[in-house]
């Protein structure tokens, strides 16, 4: 089993490398096919009209080289671990990614935890209380989750919980009047725990709640719906009837037998949800002023910052592939009948 798993992982890693190569090529080509260029995007109106500045700028960023030469140079540097320098910020892309990543990781993990816990809970309750008022209420919430546009939901939730009730702050990661975290992992809640600074933990957690809820809402809806339908299907199986006939309590029947067997599709949906969550990050980060990868990706794309666009794309593609690999491994863990091939 272990050997098969190791072989499976190695094979998938090779496949990932090939896929990432493809992603880099496609992204590089697409970003160069856009009818714009970084000179227009990054120089001021006056500088753009200054031939000396335009010439020096083009030379500095190698924009005068043919596209294939730029790509080969980029790949050669990438193999050495150099993601290039961002045309927009002038900093190494890897530094930028590492700078923005902790904020995104913190938000996405929190959103995912919310989505999985609430999604499974709502799905189970919906299935157990099928067609009862609780089921209808939870189904309404889960359908809202998959159908509400995140930008609209963000504004709504901000208006209610920040504007009217004043329960939560209106954006950002931390109250800058009180804390200016430096060093650490950049994941403020984790840093606060490590430093034993509970005031900072509470403050950063309060900042996390609303964007996390908004971001996790869609995935929560997906998981809840999937859980409900899988559970209902499992509950109609013979082995459930057998378990009940042996006198097993309803709670144990659901938790030990039905839910266990319904988990595989839920894991698939959770993985897909996590990837969707990365896509929805741009809106939520913008509205809640959350300085993460989403905003970096958006600004890089609008300023045609080729190295940054490629860096972000490779980063997101790697995350996507890693999650898929993790899900495939989890299948085997949840259901030992599944073999790694």
């Amino acid at each position: 089993m272990c050997l098969a798993l190791a072989r499976f992982i190695v094979r998938r890693l090779f496949l990932m490398a090939a896929l990432l190569l493809g992603v880099s090529l496609v992204v590089f080509l697409i970003s160069h096919l856009v009818p714009s260029n970084p000179v227009a995007a990054n120089l001021s109106q006056t500088a753009m009209n200054n031939p000396d500045t335009v010439a020096a700028y083009i030379a500095k960023w190698g924009l005068d080289k043919p596209v294939h030469e730029q790509y080969l140079l980029y790949m050669r540097n990438l193999l050495k671990g150099d993601f290039g320098t961002s045309i927009r910020t002038g900093r190494p892309v890897l530094d930028d990614l590492l700078h923005y990543f902790p904020a995104t990781l913190e938000l996405s993990v929190f959103a995912m935890v919310v989505a999985v816990i609430l999604g499974i809970l709502f799905g189970v309750l919906s299935a157990v209380f099928k067609d009862q008022p609780l089921d209808l209420a939870l189904r309404t919430i889960s359908v809202s989750g998959v159908s509400l546009p995140s930008f609209w939901f963000s504004l709504l939730i901000m208006s209610v919980f920040c504007g009217k009730l004043k329960w939560f702050p209106s954006g950002g990661r931390i109250n800058p009047r009180l804390f200016n975290p430096t060093g650490g992992t950049g994941i403020y809640t984790l840093d606060a725990i490590m430093w034993g600074n509970w005031g900072m933990f509470a403050d950063s957690f309060r900042h996390l709640v609303l964007p996390g809820l908004v971001l996790g809402f869609f995935t929560m809806g997906l998981i809840a719906r999937q859980t409900r339908s899988n559970l209902l299907e499992a509950m109609s199986m013979d082995y459930i009837r057998t378990a009940r006939s042996k006198g097993m309590g309803e709670r144990r029947v659901v938790a030990r037998h039905a839910l266990n067997n319904a988990l595989i599709p839920i894991i698939t949906v959770s993985g897909m949800g996590f990837c969707n969550l990365l896509g929805g990050m741009v809106f939520v980060e913008k509205i809640f002023s959350w300085p993460g990868i989403g905003q970096y990706a958006y600004l890089s794309a609008t300023t045609l910052d080729f190295p940054a666009i490629c860096g972000v794309s490779l980063f997101i593609a790697s995350t996507y592939l890693a999650i898929n690999l993790f899900i495939d491994i989890m299948y085997g863990v949840v259901d030992p009948r599944i073999r790694y091939q």
Binding site: A40, A41, A47, C162, F179, N180, P181, T182, D203, P291
Partner: protein, 538 residues
């Protein structure tokens, strides 16, 4: 059992919701007492805080806080230069050699004295970075030389009446050369200090940049070595808030003290809110329509008669409503606040549909024509370009011009502008320095040394008829007598109004709001936005 669980959950939620005043400890800790910290919510889009590279609209807000220049803008004025590190200046008869006497009591935050060598080094650093956005501003400098410790001689390539005004921008920030050199700085090209200068500051301004987290916040801390009277604010935090709604909510809740990214419409949400003051300040931002003279782009729109008809068909009163209170319609390219600026007289030079239709008929288009108006998904200090385009389309429909609006991402519009690929588009202009000389970018001239930004973009050649515009501009560029300069500026604008390929719509103010219970002396200046050095906590 259920009740206990519910109680536990409620307790945790109460702890999280209520525990917003944290204790210290750890690496983070509480920084300064809340009362001495001011938080400003804004949407700065700063990509660098190196004064040699900054050009974004909020660049000088940071530069004025952390650095000094030889001259700075007088608070509350539109670009009037006043001596800062310089005590005064002597200009030779040729008008190209400026000798500045420096104050001897200025020290950098590091404790190093600010000397003439620092000034020369700082100017030469930017001159050695032609790829930088600030390079155009310093290109006028042919040579800069330190004479002794407290005298600097700057020689210009040519006379320039606006040189003192140019000195007030971030391109001319004076850096602590000893410190910057230690971090890769160079005045002979190949400067590598940007990475370091993006983390801190090396100036002599009232504040020190303690940290900058792009897209999150910039923390300014009071400079203990500041050479002038310091304010009573220990720390200022510029907090990036990309959502205007978030800024409004945060201001109401007291999370921030100033919400900078408002406009007249969004500010209405704060009307009547206790302890919140809505304010506005003049800007030099102008919004206009560009109509290319290139016949291959559009035979109809390139016709000068049609372009005049467009100007007469526009409902200027309506644009004033869009811009909000304090907006004005400039006669053409010189903004209110600049030398000799003229406004459009809306009674005599306002909308005249009959005359516009006559001109359309004279041009050979009595039934009008179809045209595409391009605009970016952008807003300039609250002015939505798409709204401007929609209003223009509605106005022009009344003289038969059927406008189709093409909305594009901002960078695509800039690229099309660079490639002269639009016959008709919405654009804005914010000056690099606050002097009429900066506005000569709107004069005719497509090619060669006399090419200008909008002469080029609107395919507007220098001809015998309009050569006088250039002549007048050349006189203004070097005229140091302010009254004479204003006279020439008036003449230039009047001549320009007779024929040009642009339609200037409005100059609108900046709207913002602040906590009146916490702040005093909130002064807006278009160059450095809020005058942080003047700001006081109550």
């Amino acid at each position: 059992m259920k009740f206990r669980r519910l109680l536990a959950i409620m307790l945790v939620l109460a702890l999280i919701a209520g525990c917003n005043r944290g204790g210290g400890g750890g690496n983070a800790g509480s920084t300064t007492p809340e009362s001495s910290t001011v938080v400003i919510g804004l949407q700065s889009d700063l990509v660098t805080i190196d004064p040699g590279h900054m050009y974004e609209p909020y660049a000088n807000m940071v530069a004025y806080a952390a650095y000094d220049m030889l001259y700075k803008v007088e608070p509350g004025t539109m670009g009037t230069p006043m001596p800062s590190v310089a005590k005064g200046v002597e200009i030779d008869d040729s008008g190209t050699v400026y000798t500045f006497a420096l104050r001897e009591d200025v020290v950098f935050a590091s404790g190093n004295p600010l000397t003439a060598a620092d000034v020369a080094w700082s100017f030469n650093r930017v001159l050695g970075m032609p790829e930088s956005n600030t390079y155009s501003s310093v290109q006028i400098v042919a040579n800069v030389e330190a004479v002794g410790d407290y005298s600097v001689v700057v020689t210009l390539n040519e006379r320039d009446a606006s040189f003192l005004v140019k000195l007030t921008s971030n391109a001319y920030c004076i850096l602590d050369s000893e410190v910057v050199k230690e971090h890769g700085g160079s005045d002979a090209g190949g400067d590598e200090a940007k990475a370091w200068l993006d983390t801190t500051s090396a100036g002599s301004g009232p504040y020190i940049i303690k940290s900058w987290t792009p897209k999150e916040q910039l923390v300014l801390e009071k400079n203990p070595n500041y050479w002038r009277e310091a304010g009573n604010i220990d720390q200022i935090i510029l907090r990036e808030m990309t959502s205007v709604d978030a800024q409004i909510t945060a201001l109401q809740n007291g999370e921030i003290d100033i919400a900078l990214s408002l406009n007249t419409e969004t500010a209405k949400q704060l009307a009547g809110v206790a302890n919140v003051q809505i304010a506005s300040g003049d800007t030099a931002l102008i919004t206009f329509l560009v109509m290319s003279r290139d016949e291959s782009m559009s035979a109809e729109m390139s016709n000068p008669l049609v372009q005049e008809a467009v100007r007469l068909a526009l409902d200027y009163e309506g644009y004033l409503v869009l811009g909000g209170e304090g907006s004005t319609v400039p006669l053409n390219f010189v903004q209110r606040g600049f030398s000799g600026a003229l406004q459009r007289d809306l009674d005599a030079q306002g909308r005249d549909l009959e005359k516009a239709k006559e001109l359309m008929a004279q041009a050979g288009y009595p039934d009008g024509f179809d045209i595409t108006l391009t605009c970016a998904t952008n807003n300039s200090e609250g002015m939505e370009w798409t709204l401007v385009a929609q209003k223009a389309a509605a106005d022009l429909a009344e003289i038969g011009i059927n406008v189709t609006i093409e909305t594009l991402e901002t960078t695509l519009v800039y690229e099309k502008m660079r490639n002269f690929a639009m016959p008709f588009y919405v654009m804005y202009w914010s000056p690099d320095y606050y002097d009429i000389n900066n506005q000569f970018a709107f004069l005719p001239g497509r090619e060669g040394e006399r090419a200008t930004a909008y002469g080029n973009r609107a395919a507007w050649d220098i001809t015998e008829d309009n050569a006088v515009l250039r002549e007048l501009a050349d006189q203004i560029a070097v005229e140091t007598d302010e009254a004479r300069r204003a006279e020439l500026a008036v003449e230039l604008q009047q001549k320009y109004a007779e024929d040009n390929p642009l339609a200037f719509l409005l100059q609108h103010p900046k709207t913002f709001a602040y906590r009146s219970d916490r702040l005093a002396n909130v002064i807006y200046n278009d160059l450095c936005k809020i005058e942080l050095v003047e700001l006081r906590a109550k």
